[in-house]
């Protein structure tokens, strides 16, 4: 850069036609007073980003030069009423009291000019004072933030911020020349060209709001008006403005209320309306569509003129054509939106959904189908739907389709074939799909995997038959032996009679235990265990156990090894007793004759750990994981001889866990079994 003659002073003398450059203090004060006077205050900051580097590497003089060049440039670009100021050591700023959009445009314009002519990079930020509560410094901070964002993005454009957040740049479009009035061929041709243009804008593949903006621009040219607005009606028929485009004059409150009136009128009267406001002229056309026999209003197109206009059939005609295009565009947009929603819902569904045509070829499906059947996209497309039915069920498929065709919808429960040959029980619905005119074109099947449900049903019915059998068995003995004693009376030897009576007693007790077990299981299922805890002495429970099992055939001995620090628990006494009975009962079943069953306890933090140990054959590894499951019975000779329901340990687990404790076991084949469970020591 050629050196300038002499060193310049920091404050450059103002150029003849540009405003004086204010220093930081004065400038900030000016901004403050503008904000306080409630004017819309906007600050444009031009940040010379490399200035500090230049200052360090090339010296103060050079830095000053660079900055002054920037000042000159900016001041040449701004209008007289806009004030210029220095901020910081490397920023030039402009204060504008105009709408933010105007400030943005000015900033953009100046920024582009600076970029094109200066080699020194500048990043530009704009800040608006709306919602601001910390005065000029706050505004400056926002503008610096915006400039920094612009720099981060390469400083090709200007960034804007208000207190509320970033503000996008306003879109400005080149005005199109108004179409000529009249019915000459040329005029009509021109109108057609513009309508075509509008059509292209509306149906282009871009977000609908953008398309609407571009289309509105064309409307201005078509109608020769400086302003146009498009309203769409919601599901309740209320109009909402989707787009307002053109001269801000029409955005003023008075104009807006006139606009609202004319929109309402057009909707009410369902025809083109010409209206005259205090100064402005209005023309409005409803966007109507016919559905069957009904005429519905989907929105309104409004066009505004700076003065009254005489109605013209030509203008009306053009309005109609424009409104038709807008209505179609709107319908398509709503349709696309609905489709997107439907696609999302379908895809998300846990149920499998398949759409087929009338020849049962697969057209569409969701991921749940792939998951349930194991077939991939490539496998499914265009294949026959009976691909999914096992060979024997193809007839059934056809019956199903016929039923759906006949009555519109059919429920089915069937089996689906997976790609790997496996079968999955399913249930679902098959529904006929019709187009708008009521002609069927395909079918949709919605179905789900019911393996779990069937499993549950099977378990339930097995349980019921099990209960039935288990309860009838002791009843048979009780009833039968009672009958025997009655029938043979004195003919019966005394010891035989005693024997039969003791069997009756045994079986009655057994029946009682079974009923209790089944009731417990029901309670477990219903989550209604509800322990009623109190302090329970473990040794008292042990005494009761000894009594209960005194006559047990194994003649086993009970050993009590309760720790003095773990002698009582905070629990429901009956339920703990039940747990001990079940555990001891199991131990006794497996303990060798005259063997020992040991009940011990020890403290475990807030809990007491209780152990029931036997000297039986132990439990194999593969059974240990299942042993607490309902209905699980180890398959060995002991369990075959002593019929049971496999519920005892499941009940123990339920009770212990309802108290907040844990239950587990340690065992090894040949080395006995130890069942452990914990219960709270105190409340």
């Amino acid at each position: 850069m050629p050196a300038k003659k002499g060193a310049r002073r920091k404050a450059a003398p103002p150029r003849p036609n540009s405003p004086a450059l204010l220093q930081e203090g004065a400038f900030l004060a000016l901004i403050d007073s503008s904000i306080k006077s409630r004017k819309e205050t906007n600050l444009i900051v031009f940040h010379s980003v490399r200035l500090e580097e230049i200052r360090l590497s090339r010296g103060e003089a050079m830095a000053v030069q660079v900055l002054e060049r920037l000042v000159e440039f900016v001041s040449a670009q701004v209008r007289p009423q806009e004030r210029l100021g220095r901020l910081g050591s490397d920023q030039v700023a402009v204060l504008m009291t105009s709408p933010l959009a105007t400030a943005q445009e000015a900033a953009q314009r100046i920024h582009q000019a600076v970029r094109e002519t200066s080699r020194v990079p500048v990043s530009t930020g704009v800040a608006g004072s709306v919602g601001l509560d910390d005065g000029a410094r706050g505004l400056w901070k926002l503008a610096r933030q915006a400039a920094a964002e612009a720099w981060a993005e390469g400083a090709r454009t200007v960034r804007t911020r208000t207190k509320a957040g970033p503000v996008p740049l306003p879109i400005r479009m080149p005005r199109l020349p108004a179409s000529p009035a009249g019915s000459s061929i040329e005029a009509r041709y021109q109108r057609l060209v513009l309508l075509n243009r509008m059509s292209l804008e509306l149906f282009a593949d871009r977000p609908f709001p953008d398309a609407l903006v571009a289309a509105s621009n064309v409307v201005l040219a078509l109608m020769g008006s400086p302003y146009a607005a498009v309203y769409f009606c919601d599901d309740f028929g209320s109009p909402h403005a989707a787009q307002r485009h053109g001269d801000p004059l029409f955005l003023e409150p008075e104009a807006q209320s006139e606009e609202a009136l004319v929109v309402a009128q057009a909707l009410l009267e369902r025809r083109i309306v010409t209206a005259q406001g205090t100064r402005l002229g209005w023309l409005a056309a409803p966007l109507s569509s016919i559905k069957g026999k009904d005429l519905t209003e989907d929105g309104v197109l409004v066009v505004g003129y700076p003065e009254s206009r005489a109605p013209s059939s030509e203008k009306d005609q053009t309005m109609l054509e424009i409104s038709r295009l807008l209505r179609n565009a709107r319908l398509i947009q709503r349709n696309l939106q609905q489709q997107r929603v439907l696609a999302a819902v379908t895809e998300q569904s846990a149920d499998a959904i398949i759409v087929t045509d009338l020849a049962s070829r697969i057209l569409m499906w969701n991921t749940s189908v792939e998951r349930l059947t194991g077939y991939t996209k490539e496998d499914l497309l265009s294949r026959q739907a009976d691909l999914l039915a096992p060979a024997g069920n193809r007839e059934e498929q056809h019956h199903l389709e016929d039923a759906a065709r006949a009555s519109g919808s059919a429920h089915f429960e069937s089996v689906s074939r997976r790609k790997d040959g496996g079968l999955v029980p399913i249930e679902g619905h098959c529904t006929l799909l019709k187009d708008d005119s009521g002609t069927p074109w395909g079918m949709v099947r919605v179905f789900r995997d019911i393996t779990k449900r069937k499993e549950l049903d099977r378990m339930k019915s097995e349980f019921v038959s099990l209960v039935s059998h288990e309860l009838r068995t002791p009843l048979t003995a009780i009833q039968g032996f009672a009958e025997t004693i009655l029938d043979f009376g004195d003919g019966l030897e005394a010891d035989k009679r005693t024997h039969f009576i003791s069997i009756i007693l045994e079986e009655a007790k057994r029946l009682g235990r079974l009923v209790t077990n089944f009731l417990d299981v029901s309670k477990l299922e219903a989550g209604a265990m509800h322990p009623k805890p109190r302090q329970v002495e473990l040794s008292a429970l042990c005494k009761r156990l000894v009594l209960l099992f005194k006559e047990h055939p194994s003649l086993a001995v009970f050993e009590e090894k309760l720790s003095p620090q773990a002698s009582s628990v905070w629990a429901d006494e009956d339920q703990v007793y039940r747990v001990l009975v079940n555990l001891c009962g199991n131990s006794l079943k497996y303990t060798p004759p005259k063997g020992t069953v040991t009940i011990s306890s020890k403290p475990d933090g807030e809990f007491v750990e209780i152990c029931v140990a036997d000297q039986g054959p132990g439990i194999a590894e593969e059974n240990r994981t299942h042993i607490f499951e309902k209905f699980f019975r180890v398959a060995d000779t002991v369990s075959r001889k002593t019929p049971g329901t496999g519920l005892g340990l499941a009940i123990c687990k339920g009770i212990v866990e309802a108290h907040g404790g844990r239950i587990w076991l340690e065992s090894a084949p040949g080395r006995g079994t130890r069942f452990y469970f914990t219960l709270p020591a105190h409340p």
Partner: protein, 119 residues
């Protein structure tokens, strides 16, 4: 004296059937499962009737009945089935069961069924 084999895994029911039949004048042999029943039939002298429990671990009463019907030595033996289900079972008569008694059964009914079949 007529010999009756009672097959039931449940000790109390088996004892009931065996005792009552004995008191009513029949010679009875009691065993606990289908396998031992087949062994006893093969090794010992003839039986005149068999009383089976339907639900047993291992080979069920129905399977045992079918096996007996297949073997020409035992095909003509009358079979009484004791079952916990209420409704008469079609499969029971298909398997060759002569009479089906549902539990809890009265031992008197058992004796009259036996008498009828051995008459």
């Amino acid at each position: 004296m007529k010999r009756i084999l009672v097959v039931d895994d449940e000790p109390s029911t088996g004892a009931l059937a065996a005792e009552y039949l004995r008191l009513s004048g029949f010679e009875t042999v009691l065993c606990e499962d289908a396998e031992s029943a087949l062994k006893i039939i093969a090794s010992e002298s003839r039986f005149d009737l068999i009383v089976l429990d339907k639900r047993m671990p291992g080979m069920s009463g129905l399977d045992l009945c079918a096996a007996l019907k297949k073997d020409p030595a035992t095909a003509s033996l009358p079979v009484i089935l004791l079952s916990a289900s209420v409704s008469p079972s079609l499969t029971a008569s298909e398997a060759g069961v002569s009479v089906c008694l549902s539990k809890p059964f009265s031992p008197k009914d058992l004796v009259s069924a036996v008498s009828r079949l051995l008459a």
